[in-house]
Symmetry: C2
């Protein structure tokens, strides 16, 4: 066995995702040192007391300096500013990546940074969210068995792709590469729209109905317990693909409404059956 | 301790729900004898081999005769015919009930049966469904901790209400009474619409997106793995309330689409927050 894969890895914003990255790196001894950057001293103390990192700072520049890999795990609206702030301080050879749910904004922010042949950025997105948030919900095994998406562009250096791929694979995920545009389009369908749909199911239910719910409603709307600030952020950042996905979704609902209204049960059953077959394959 | 609560209880159609009722009655010794009625001998043998019943028959008349409580657990479209077929054969004092997801049709079928002062019907609906179906998915503890709905009308004898309430409470559920109309209206919102919405989320997702899904999509669409024949049946039987619930749901989606399109993030976040608060209370 060789030593740890990385020297210092810096995790910025140790919430659910960042805390889980820090814990996972440390428990697997994947790097010599895990450094966390948080806005408040109290958050850093919590992370250090939990044994989830070796060191911490509230200063992004200090946190980035000396790191061979920097993983930005803040809410999506904060990421472009962090990329711009971190970029000049990356040491030669360093890779900057993120864990945000939308990729267009971060990829554009990185593209607009001054050219540096000795540092690189690639977007990432572990599909490991939860309705819970914050460091107290973090778990070093959160990424085990999950899918993680890495979103290179034509300009992304191979070293950056390799580092981000290594990171998520080392934490137990299966990594898939896709373009930032494809990512945002597909994730709108399988994550952003389902969140909006789940919130809407709750919003559309009358108060009298809620004491009667069974497991079906509870599971279907679990993600509607997610922090609305994070999701408003994501919807804002991925507005166009979300609207497109919503249009496709409402087209299906409208078609099925029409089948129900007309009493065309055979066609409805056939269409539900196709969806059931697809869903069964997801396990 | 007194002896078992009932003499013979007959469970018609021992699938997920019926099999669970039979198992739960037997394991808790709630009656002297559990009789099952199924269409095929093979199904009866399976139930008896599993120790889920004491006796079985493919003949509804034979199964109903001598039972103090008859629980119809077939798909909703089969229930009115079963009520008509069972009614003349109920012994004096017997209570007939069902476990279907829609109550208008069964209540009407029972109302149209010849008056019998010595037998009674009341509708029931355990909120304990699953994407799985069939006897092999049954579980005697399925109803523990769940809500069960009992739907009397102004004409329902107190003895019928008491028997159906006893049944579900004995199996571990919390029972709530509501009118058949209110039941169908509220259940459309918290069960039927969520099923349609979940099937539609799967139908609206492109094939390329499916290998990328995380737990959010998997949970939100779990019920889209449900048997489409059962759900087409339910949608047919509860058409008007389902369409009303769909209208309310699409009104929320349309309003939120407008907020996203206009970029009114503060209003959107406030509305998502109200849904999140409601959802959190469901646990």
């Amino acid at each position: 066995m060789s030593g740890p894969r990385w020297g210092r890895v810096t995790v910025v914003s140790p919430g659910l995702i960042g805390g889980s990255v820090a814990r996972g790196l440390r428990s697997r001894r994947l790097c010599r040192e895990v450094m966390v950057v948080a806005r408040h001293e109290a958050a850093i103390r919590t992370v250090l007391d939990a044994g989830a990192a070796d060191a911490g700072t509230t200063d992004l520049t200090e946190g980035v300096t000396g790191a061979s890999l920097v993983v930005l795990c803040a809410p999506v609206s904060a990421l472009p500013g962090m990329i711009r702030a971190a970029w000049p301080h990356l040491v030669p050879g360093a890779v900057l990546t993120d864990a945000g749910s939308v990729k267009r904004g971060v990829v554009e922010a990185a593209r607009e940074c001054p050219t540096r042949p000795d540092a690189s950025f690639v977007g990432g997105h572990p599909m490991a969210g939860s309705e819970r948030s914050g460091f107290e919900a973090s778990d070093g095994d959160l990424f085990e068995g999950k899918v993680a998406l890495v979103t290179p562009t034509a300009d992304t250096p191979a070293a950056a792709i390799a580092a981000a791929t290594d990171l998520w694979e080392s934490l137990g995920s299966t990594v898939r590469h896709l373009s930032p545009e494809t990512h945002d389009h597909l994730v709108a369908e399988i994550s952003h729209l389902p969140h909006l749909a789940a919130y809407a199911l709750v919003a559309a239910a009358e108060a009298d109905a809620l004491p009667l719910v069974g497991r079906g409603f509870v599971d279907t709307t679990r993600i509607a317990a997610s922090a609305e600030s994070l999701w408003t952020d994501i919807f804002r950042d991925n507005r166009r693909p979300l609207l497109d996905a919503l249009t496709r979704y409402e087209a299906v609902l409208d078609r099925w409404r029409d089948l129900v209204a007309r009493g065309d049960w055979a066609t409805l059953e056939a269409e539900l059956g196709r969806a059931r077959e697809v869903r069964e394959k997801l396990g």
